[in-house]
Symmetry: C3
Subunit: 473 residues, 3 copies
Amino acid sequence: MSDPWTLHPDRALPADPTTRGIAREIYAATRDLPIVSMHGHVPVEWFAQDSSFGDPAQLFVVPDHYLTRMLVSQGETLPRLGVGSTDTEQVETDPREIWRRFCAGWRHFRGTPTRYWLEHALVEIFGVTQRPSAETADAIYDQVAARIAEPGFRPRALLDEFNIEVIATTDAAWASLEDHRRLAKDGYGDRVLPTFRPDPLLHVDRATWRDEIALLARAADHEVDSYDDYLTALRAQRRAFVEAGARATDHGHLAADTAPLDDVEARRIFDAALAGTVTAAEAEAFSGHMLFQMAAMSTEDGLVMQLHPGVLRNHATAPFAAFGPDKGYDIPVVTEFTRSLRPLLDAFGHHPGFTMIAFTVDEDVYSRELAPLAGVYPALRLGAPWWFLDAPDAMRRFREAATETAGFSNMSGFVDDTRAFCSIPARHDLARRIDAGYLGRLVAEHRLDLDEAAETAVDLAYRLPQAAYPAPR
Amino acid sequence: MSDPWTLHPDRALPADPTTRGIAREIYAATRDLPIVSMHGHVPVEWFAQDSSFGDPAQLFVVPDHYLTRMLVSQGETLPRLGVGSTDTEQVETDPREIWRRFCAGWRHFRGTPTRYWLEHALVEIFGVTQRPSAETADAIYDQVAARIAEPGFRPRALLDEFNIEVIATTDAAWASLEDHRRLAKDGYGDRVLPTFRPDPLLHVDRATWRDEIALLARAADHEVDSYDDYLTALRAQRRAFVEAGARATDHGHLAADTAPLDDVEARRIFDAALAGTVTAAEAEAFSGHMLFQMAAMSTEDGLVMQLHPGVLRNHATAPFAAFGPDKGYDIPVVTEFTRSLRPLLDAFGHHPGFTMIAFTVDEDVYSRELAPLAGVYPALRLGAPWWFLDAPDAMRRFREAATETAGFSNMSGFVDDTRAFCSIPARHDLARRIDAGYLGRLVAEHRLDLDEAAETAVDLAYRLPQAAYPAPR
Amino acid sequence: MSDPWTLHPDRALPADPTTRGIAREIYAATRDLPIVSMHGHVPVEWFAQDSSFGDPAQLFVVPDHYLTRMLVSQGETLPRLGVGSTDTEQVETDPREIWRRFCAGWRHFRGTPTRYWLEHALVEIFGVTQRPSAETADAIYDQVAARIAEPGFRPRALLDEFNIEVIATTDAAWASLEDHRRLAKDGYGDRVLPTFRPDPLLHVDRATWRDEIALLARAADHEVDSYDDYLTALRAQRRAFVEAGARATDHGHLAADTAPLDDVEARRIFDAALAGTVTAAEAEAFSGHMLFQMAAMSTEDGLVMQLHPGVLRNHATAPFAAFGPDKGYDIPVVTEFTRSLRPLLDAFGHHPGFTMIAFTVDEDVYSRELAPLAGVYPALRLGAPWWFLDAPDAMRRFREAATETAGFSNMSGFVDDTRAFCSIPARHDLARRIDAGYLGRLVAEHRLDLDEAAETAVDLAYRLPQAAYPAPR
């Protein structure tokens, strides 16, 4: 291994010296740009309360399902990694033990973006100089713990250290937005933005649905006894989000279906759901209908519509029962866009001011469906490679598969979708490097001039995410 | 930007110097070969009438849906780009205004093949030396307009200038072939060939179907009152195409289904269609049945069968109503070949003299379905990457995905499918460069010897398209 | 061409000199490792009888459907290549004639792995120094024939010459295992292992099913008159395989469905099958049910479960009738894993000691389904690229698509699936070169350190296949 552990300045740039030289020039144009992080899962409380991150295990291991799933696949268990459970297995409470298990499994992350992000964070943010392993675990733990304990190592300070110009959180549709109001009062109103996420309210056959409806009614201060009440309450909450600075809504449906129902049928299904007699097929049709309604509301209130479809959640029964959602058992499925988005795009695809950003974890649709759609409908932008595809080679494949049909101007630019706060600088930096490499190849192949490539790199890193998420009028 | 604007001799060759050096040698073997353009959409009238191309907007912008769709996706409208409409919006009639809008949007084409082709045509054919932009639009307009106005800048002269040995047009099945006869009289009979395109006749539930049947009946001089009449008339028109020099038929169905019906059922559906009572499911079954019949007729008359499935046409309702088809709203869908082609290949896949060429806009099927099928059935050849996939990186992916299973001998070689006449040299040149790069890599990796690679490059550019579209016996 | 014909020491390594230099270092760590060949189709009789391979046509051409399909696609016929038939066409019996036809078609293999493997075998094993062609066919024939006739050129001796540490055969579930016992007696018990392949027994609507059941009953020495008998007999035969050294079962279903039936329904379908009244839908449901049962039995006896789904067998009717299965007419179809494997993984995916290895010929599922599944379920390993995908560029794509989500530790390492014995060294060597190239790129891009890359290369070539196929307890 390199001795001591360092980050090479050319990491993730193409190996070919010609292309690398060009890529270096392009990367120089974006390296120091502020971070625009328009979608993610960092809890708003962190910024509102601005409290300490706890210990290395709480910061890096326990909440990161990218990381825990890999260790589970190699024989670890979630409780031994500190993940709380309703199960009988004892949950590890010693953060140092958890950290040791993580470091002992370091080799399993080879070739993954988790490895790349962690390496970046440990070296850049924490100054670690030795590769994690069973042998080095304790020393690294102490080093990371000491940094975390520093008074300046707080969420708000890190916004500056990480050069984050703006960051969006993801919030329940019925959220009080109290934390965002506190942030606004403290001068962070333009810097930490809420995002309206109504998924559980749109899936009328979920066990939690009626509880969610009650929460919505309370938040909107409007009884929800009918479909029309429901639309009214949703509209009211969207408006509250707009007032709190939101730029976007976010939708994580299984399919991308957007076929609207007529009002009579929508009311009928809603009433059946209230009565507890809704069928799975009705619920599925209703969720597609509601995506259409969300788009319609976006044309009213200007919220950008983010669609993240195609993931079958909680694939394994027992881990879901024991540990809850978001523990690594979410697996993509084939996702269709051409026919599914047709009703929505036919209705709103040329609407001025409406923006829909489509993400996918199904690479097949890049060249076949999403790039052709984004390449003609003014309202549609192609999101950045998402989740499992937010990785160096996958990002390169995205550029190669989508650009020739959609161009760059129909894309969202980089969007990070991060849960692990300390990985944000690594992710943005990596995306900038991959884009520099891709653009560098276009220049090396004389398909683009260098000045165009550098300008495009700045678009992808900074200007396009700003343009894709405009402030509502 | 490079100053002045020029085409680099190594453009679209691999960046790595080792591979580029080899690729240059391979490309030298194909660079000056004549163009064999066996499929496309250049109107036959252009060659028959040999008249002027009008103005820069008419030549480059208005008829090119690759180009207009990108500008539409960025907020332009088709009427402002000169595209005629039944809509109320005023259609721009000043070609210079249209040209300015195109040049102002030049940046949106970065990374697309449209950019690559346009750059090639503007520099090579028109001698343009500055990059298009709002600032340079007028000067480029004047330069292009002057060249278009030259007496020698006529379709037939360009066949020589572009080194086009043979070009096929695409013609309605009921076409009179008058233009092709005139071309034959003028000595262009072996150089401009018709192609038999019966799609609207095979989809019995389209609004226009009965009009099409009437046109067929008139062209074939045979009343079409029954399924048997219909087959007779189709057969007669195919024969007329063969006599006019046609090499192939072309089929643009939504699915690749080729399951035959029995005669009783085929007759029943046909009669229902005449009576206006056919269902969508019946029409779909009938269209698959007719692909099977088209293959059967090909075994009789020797016309090569081209299949271009998998595109959902006219995705947006309002633009279709206002502007008609082929305006950029055609979006690919998942396409299945293994089961769909089975009836046809089972019946005719080993028939001597039958050739089917399968194209796709669904990259997923290259390695999974089409290459395995083409790698065993003597009748099947794998067409070149089509439409959205006729692009540098997509062509490279095609070679990488299909060659290992199908080899080179089971491919059609390059087929351009062009509507924009001036892009033909650019497209063939680009394909030769990409193939040189791919073959150069095989040589650099010692998987092929240089003499084999050069011979294969000539196959792909010239011999295979000739062999794939033989003259009917 | 290179003169004389030789194998370049850097073949199949990346062209870029920087990456090639690193890849050479990594390849040096695996080049001389023994071969662990845990799945394949070399007949066990060859090793049991240790007899001569006959002639060059019998060794290289007649049994290799990769090779014959390509020649058929170019107009040869199977009988002219010596493939026996029930058809009227005369079967070529002169091996020299067959060999000439193969050599005359050598150019059609350009760019295919068959070409790469054959070149490796002809040069390395047979010392051939000229490229095959119509002109060189006879001389090469004589050279190969002479080597085959050498007393030392026998299967067991070649195990040493090829450095094969262990090789698995594939055996019918009702096999007597006589040959394996003879091998054990001769000291080859740990070197040539059987594999339990029950496919024809699990598809209850196949014409041969009742014959297969009779063979199972005889082998297990247990009457099979009911579903419970059937499970008992299967269990007994699995145990016999374990005792004969088997490590794994192998399953070649069309779909990956693993949904279990309840016992009543399973018994009912089984009885219907015995009575000859089973429907296609029942048979399909039963085959999925039996995959679940096979997994359950694996948790009892420790046999690793290999799943090879997604191939539609015998696509063309006439060749199947005339020549039987495995003649090149097996074509992949879309294959779904996320929902299909859910019942099995939900039940056994965390079972200690259970291992399932999933292979695919549908590249789309790498990043979308198989890597996410293998990246969390401890029981699941991702198999090596299979069949059409066991090729240089396809192997590279597999690494690039799967590693970022699954890492290396969740993979089987290289598994060759070979029918053509002499290609085994070529295949393993090629896989090691491709992995060295991929890992070399990660090092060149500073995403991995060189020591980690070399260790990982050894994992993929040697340690992981051993670990993925542990001896049952």
